[in-house]
C-alpha cells in the first residue's frame, strides 16, 4: 500500500457521559483506495464521517490527513479548510442554484479571497474563471449531466441528483471523498446500476474514497477493502474475499452475507460436528471439550440427491431472485440453509445428501 491518505488513531467520541459512539477506532486509507465502512444503523459510522469532515471534534485520538494533523481532542481544522469532499445521504444540493452552479460552487474561492482580489492583492491560488468552467464541463461530461446543466435540482430524478452530488463533491479536486449512504434513497434497480457508475467515476478521477453503507452487497460489490464496524469500532478490515470467508468475529460473519452456524465440540485436536470432523485451525486457543460454532455459508455446501454426505430433510424452499434457498434439517435437529443448483428437482420434505466443504474454517467459541 502506498502512503496513507488518511490515518485515524485511537479515535473516541461520545455525546453523553455513559455511551461512546466512537470507541477506540483506528483506520488507515491508502492512496486511490475505495474503502467501504459497513455497519448497522447506529454503529457510529456517520459520526465517524462527521469527525473526518470536521463537523465534530474528537474526545480522544487524532486524525491525520495527508501527513497533516487535522483533529485531536478538543481541536480541529475547520471543515471548510480540510479539502475533504462529501456526498450526503440526502444529496444536499442547493435548490436555488442550477446544476452548473451547484457543481461550480466549490470551485469559487472563498469570499475573503475575492474581497482581497478587489483591493488588488493577488490571493494565493488565484481563481481562474475559464479553468473553473472547463473543470465543470469535464465533470458534467464524466457524470453524463451535460444536458441538464441549466436545470434546477427539483426538476431532476433521484439518480441524476446523485450524480450531481458526486460531481459537485469532486469539483474542488479534494484528495479524499466521503460518501454517506449514497444509494439509500434510490430504488433497487437504479441502485445497482448507479453503484457501478459511481465506482467507475471515482476510479477514473483517481480519488481516495470512504463509502459508508449498511448494505453488505453494496460493500462487497464496490470496495477495495471493507471495514466492518460495530459499536463504534472496526471489527475487521480487509479485502471483500477475506471479510466474506475469513470473518474474525461472529458479528462480522453474521453481518456479511447469508450465514448459519454449525455447533461442534473440541475433541483431541479436532472439531466434531454433525457434518463430520474438522481439523482445528492454527492459533485458536480452545480447551478440550469446549463448545464452538463453525461458519456455514450456503456456497460451502454441496447438496446431491444421492451419494456421500449427511442425510438431510428439506424443510422449506424460498425463492431469492433466480436462486432457490433450501432450509435443511439434519436428523439431530441442526438447521441451516443452502443454495441449490437449479437442475436438482426436489420438493419440501424430500431427503438429500449434504457435504460441508469450507475453503477456510472460521471457528468461534460458543456464546451462551
Amino acid at each position: 500500500m502506498s502512503a496513507p491518505v488518511l490515518e485515524i488513531r485511537g479515535l473516541h467520541k461520545r455525546f453523553s457521559a455513559e455511551h461512546w459512539v466512537i470507541d477506540d477506532l483506528s483506520l488507515t486509507v491508502g492512496e486511490g483506495e475505495l474503502l467501504c465502512v459497513l455497519g448497522a444503523s447506529g454503529c457510529g459510522k456517520t459520526t465517524m464521517l462527521r469527525l473526518i469532515c470536521g463537523f465534530e471534534v474528537p474526545d480522544r485520538g487524532e486524525i491525520v490527513h495527508q501527513g497533516q494533523l487535522i483533529a485531536r481532542p478538543g481541536w480541529g481544522v475547520r471543515p471548510e479548510r480540510r479539502r475533504i469532499g462529501m456526498v450526503f445521504q440526502d444529496y444536499a444540493l442547493f435548490p436555488h442554484m442550477t446544476v452548473r452552479a451547484n457543481v461550480r460552487f466549490g470551485l469559487e474561492p472563498p469570499l475573503r479571497q475575492r474581497i482581497a482580489g478587489w483591493f488588488g492583492r493577488h490571493a494565493a491560488g488565484a481563481y481562474s474563471s475559464a479553468a473553473a468552467e472547463q473543470r465543470v464541463a469535464q465533470l458534467m461530461e464524466m457524470t453524463g449531466l451535460s444536458r441538464y446543466a441549466e436545470r434546477y435540482p427539483h426538476e431532476l430524478s433521484g439518480g441524476q441528483l446523485q450524480r450531481i452530488a458526486l460531481a459537485r463533491a469532486l469539483a474542488p479536486g479534494a484528495s479524499l471523498m466521503l460518501l454517506d449512504e449514497p444509494f439509500s434513497n434510490l430504488d433497487a434497480n437504479l441502485r445497482s446500476r448507479l453503484r457501478l457508475e459511481v465506482h467507475d467515476v471515482l476510479k477514473q478521477a483517481g480519488v481516495t474514497a470512504i463509502l459508508v453503507t449498511h448494505d453488505q452487497e453494496e460493500a462487497l460489490n464496490l470496495a477495495d477493502r471493507i471495514a466492518v464496524m460495530n459499536r463504534g469500532r472496526i471489527e475487521q478490515i480487509g479485502p471483500p474475499e477475506e471479510i466474506l470467508h475469513q470473518p474474525r468475529t461472529r458479528f462480522v460473519a453474521r453481518f456479511t452475507g447469508m450465514s448459519d452456524l454449525l455447533p461442534g465440540r473440541v475433541e483431541g485436536g479436532q472439531i466434531v460436528t454433525d457434518m463430520g470432523c474438522f481439523p482445528m485451525p492454527a492459533g485458536l486457543a480452545l480447551g478440550l471439550g469446549e463448545r464452538v460454532e463453525i461458519l456455514m455459508r450456503p456456497n460451502y455446501l454441496h447438496v446431491a440427491a444421492e451419494g456421500d454426505g449427511v442425510p438431510a430433510r428439506i424443510e422449506r424452499i424460498d425463492y431469492l431472485g433466480v436462486q432457490r434457498v433450501y432450509t435443511l434439517v439434519l436428523a439431530t435437529g441442526t438447521r441451516f440453509r443452502a443454495v441449490l443448483p437449479g437442475q436438482l428437482e426436489r420438493r419440501e420434505e424430500d431427503m438429500v445428501r449434504v457435504r460441508f466443504q469450507p475453503p477456510h474454517l472460521s471457528v468461534f467459541p460458543m456464546e451462551y
Partner: protein, 567 residues
C-alpha cells in the same frame, strides 16, 4: 505536536470551538432585549415614598379586578367565536363557506382601539343609531329608553373579542384540519352523534391549538391601552400610565408593571404548555380529506349567519363608517400634514422591520451555529418580548435610555462644555428600540421555522466545499429564506404601524404617527377628521391578512403555521 504548529503557522488550523462572533452577537442582542424588563424590575425596588400603599388601598384592587375580568371576557368571547366559526368552515358545508375561510380573518386588520372609536361614534347617545331610534319611536331623552352603554368594560370586551377572535379561528381551524376523517367517522360508527363527536372527540383533540389562540388573544388584551383608555376602564395598562405620567411616580409605576408581568408570565406559561401539547396531537402522515357534512335549510342559514356576523361587525360595519367619514373630510385634511404623519409612520415601521428581521436572522443563525442548548433557550426567552405589554416596555425603555442620556450629557458638559440633550430617549431611536424588543418574536419565530426546514447537510455541503459560515449564510441560506424574511418584515411593519401604547409615550416631541394621530382626534371626539389615517392603518393591516389567507387557501393545515406568536 510539531505538525500542529506547522499547520497553525500557515493559518490553516483554527480553533474550532472558539467563542465566535456569531455567538457573541447573539448574546448581545439577547442582552439588549432583556434590558427593558430588567430595568423595570430594578426600578420597582427603588423607594417610591408612600404611594405604593396608597395605591394598594385605593385603586390597585380595581386594576386587578378589571384586568382579570376583561381578559376573561375577551378570552371567552374569542374562544366561542373562533372555535365555532373554525368548526363550521372545516366540518360543514354551507353557502359561502369557501369565502368565509378567508373572510373570517378580516377583523384582524382592525386595531381594537379603532373599532372602539368607530362604534362609540356609531352607538353613543349622539350617534346615528340612537338618533334614528329616537326619531322612529318619538323618544325625547335618555330617560325614555334603555340602550346598552358602549363605553364600559363589557363594551371593551366585545370590541376586543371581535378583532382578536381570528387568532383562535386560525389555530382552531388548523387543529380541526389535522384531524383525520377516520377518527371522526370511528366516533360516529361507535354510536356517537355529531354533537357528541364534536364535544367528545374533535374539541379535545383541538384543545392545545385553541389554547394557544386564546392565550395570544389574552396577551393582546393585557397589552391594550387605546380601548381601555378611551372607555375609561382602569386596567393595569391605564394604571401604569396614570401613576407614571399622571402622578409622576416611575418607581410605583414599575411596581405595577412588575405585578402585570406576573400575569403575563402565567399566560405565557400556559401558551408554551399548550404549544408543547400541540405536538402530541399533530400528525405527519397525509390524512384523508374531510368531506364535511352538507347543511340544508335553516341549519345552512344559521351557519352562514354565524360566520357572517363576526365579519360584518368586526370589519364591514366599522369599515363602512370610516369610509363614510373619510368621504366627508375635506381635501385639505389629507394635505401636507397627513402626508407628513404617514411618512413618519413609514419611517419608524420600516426601521423597526429592518432591525427586527436583521437581528432575528443573526440570532437564528447564531443559535444554529452555536448548537448550545443554553443559547437556544436564551433566544427563546428573548422572543417572549411579544408578551410584555406596551406600557411596561415603554417604561423599561425610557429608564435606561434617559439614564444613558444624562450620563452622556454630563460627560459632554464636563469635558467640552456642550450639552447634548436627549440624544437617545427623545428620538426615533427609542421608538425603534421599543418596537424591536416587542416584535422581535415575529421574525424570530418565522425565520427559526424556515431555517429549521433547511437541512443541516446544506450547511455541511457548503462547508465541505470550502465556504465559511458567513458566506454560507449569504449564498445558501439568504436566497432560500427570502420569502420568509419578507413575510417577517411585513408582520413587524404592520404591528409597528398599529402600535399605540409605546408610541404615545416614546415618540419625539411633535412627532405624530397614524396611530397617535387617530388616538388624539378620537380622544377629542373628532373621529371624522382622523378617518383617513384610520383607513390607512386598516388597509395596511390587511397585508398580513392577505398573506395568511393565501396560505390558508393554498393547502391544508401544514401551510397555516403561525409564525412564532403572530402578530
Amino acid at each position: 505536536m510539531g505538525m500542529t504548529e506547522a499547520a497553525a503557522a500557515r493559518g490553516v488550523a483554527v480553533r474550532w470551538r472558539r467563542p465566535n462572533g456569531w455567538v457573541l452577537g447573539t448574546l448581545l442582542i439577547g442582552a439588549l432585549v432583556a434590558v427593558p424588563i430588567v430595568s423595570v424590575a430594578v426600578l420597582a425596588f427603588v423607594p417610591e415614598g408612600d404611594l405604593w400603599w396608597h395605591l394598594v388601598t385605593t385603586v390597585l384592587p380595581g386594576y386587578v379586578f378589571n384586568t382579570l375580568l376583561l381578559a376573561f371576557c375577551v378570552g371567552m368571547g374569542t374562544l366561542v367565536l373562533g372555535t365555532g366559526t373554525a368548526w363550521l368552515v372545516t366540518m360543514c358545508r354551507f353557502p359561502g363557506r369557501r369565502m368565509f375561510q378567508w373572510a373570517l380573518l378580516l377583523p384582524l386588520a382592525f386595531p381594537s382601539y379603532i373599532l372602539a372609536y368607530t362604534y362609540t361614534d356609531l352607538l353613543d347617545y349622539a350617534g346615528p343609531v340612537q338618533a334614528s331610534l329616537r326619531a322612529l319611536f318619538g323618544w325625547q331623552s335618555m330617560q325614555d329608553y334603555w340602550f346598552p352603554p358602549v363605553r364600559t368594560l363589557s363594551g371593551a370586551a366585545v370590541f376586543m373579542a371581535l378583532v382578536l377572535y381570528p387568532y383562535v379561528y386560525l389555530l382552531a381551524r388548523a387543529a380541526f384540519l389535522e384531524q383525520s376523517a377516520g377518527v371522526l367517522e370511528a366516533s360516529r360508527s361507535l354510536g356517537h352523534g355529531p354533537w357528541r363527536t364534536f364535544f367528545g372527540v374533535s374539541l379535545p383533540m383541538a384543545r392545545p391549538g385553541i389554547s394557544v389562540g386564546v392565550s395570544l388573544a389574552v396577551m393582546e388584551t393585557l397589552n391594550d391601552f387605546g380601548t381601555v383608555d378611551f372607555f375609561a376602564v382602569p386596567t393595569f395598562s391605564v394604571g401604569i400610565y396614570r401613576t407614571w405620567l399622571g402622578m409622576g411616580n416611575a418607581p410605583a409605576a414599575a411596581q405595577l408593571a412588575l405585578l402585570l408581568l406576573v400575569f403575563v408570565i402565567l399566560v405565557l406559561w400556559w401558551e408554551r404548555a399548550a404549544r408543547r401539547g400541540q405536538r402530541y396531537h399533530q400528525h405527519d402522515s397525509p390524512l384523508e380529506p374531510l368531506a364535511g357534512a352538507r347543511l340544508h335549510g335553516w341549519r345552512a342559514g344559521v351557519a352562514t349567519l354565524a360566520c357572517a356576523l363576526p365579519v360584518v361587525l368586526g370589519f364591514l360595519v366599522p369599515g363602512a363608517v370610516l369610509v363614510e367619514y373619510a368621504l366627508g373630510t375635506s381635501v385639505e385634511a389629507l394635505g401636507g400634514r397627513f402626508l407628513g404623519i404617514a411618512a413618519n409612520t413609514l419611517l419608524v415601521a420600516v426601521l423597526a422591520a429592518l432591525v427586527c428581521v436583521a437581528a432575528a436572522l443573526f440570532m437564528c443563525y447564531g443559535v444554529r451555529l452555536g448548537r448550545r442548548r443554553s443559547l437556544r433557550t436564551g433566544a427563546r426567552l428573548v422572543s417572549a418580548g411579544y408578551a410584555v405589554p406596551g406600557a411596561v416596555l415603554a417604561l423599561g425603555v425610557i429608564i435606561p435610555l434617559a439614564g444613558l442620556d444624562n450620563q452622556v450629557d454630563a460627560l459632554m458638559r464636563a469635558w467640552f462644555g456642550v450639552s447634548t440633550g436627549l440624544i437617545l430617549s427623545g428620538t426615533v431611536l427609542a421608538l425603534v428600540y421599543a418596537y424591536s424588543v416587542r416584535f422581535l418574536a415575529l421574525p424570530f419565530g418565522t425565520l427559526e421555522a424556515a431555517l429549521g426546514k433547511i437541512t443541516r447537510s446544506m450547511d455541511h455541503a457548503a462547508q465541505s466545499l470550502g465556504k465559511g459560515p458567513g458566506e454560507t449564510l449569504a449564498r445558501i441560506h439568504l436566497p432560500m429564506l427570502r420569502g420568509s424574511m419578507l413575510t417577517a418584515g411585513v408582520l413587524v411593519f404592520v404591528d409597528a404601524m398599529k402600535e399605540l401604547p409605546m408610541t404615545l409615550v416614546l415618540r419625539p416631541f411633535n412627532f405624530e404617527t397614524l396611530a397617535t394621530h387617530v388616538y388624539q382626534f378620537a380622544s377629542d371626539e373628532l373621529l371624522e377628521q382622523a378617518a383617513p389615517a384610520a383607513i390607512g392603518i386598516v388597509l395596511t393591516g390587511l397585508l398580513p391578512v392577505l398573506l395568511l389567507s393565501r396560505a390558508i387557501t393554498r393547502t391544508r393545515a401544514d401551510a397555516v403555521e403561525l409564525p412564532g406568536g403572530l402578530p
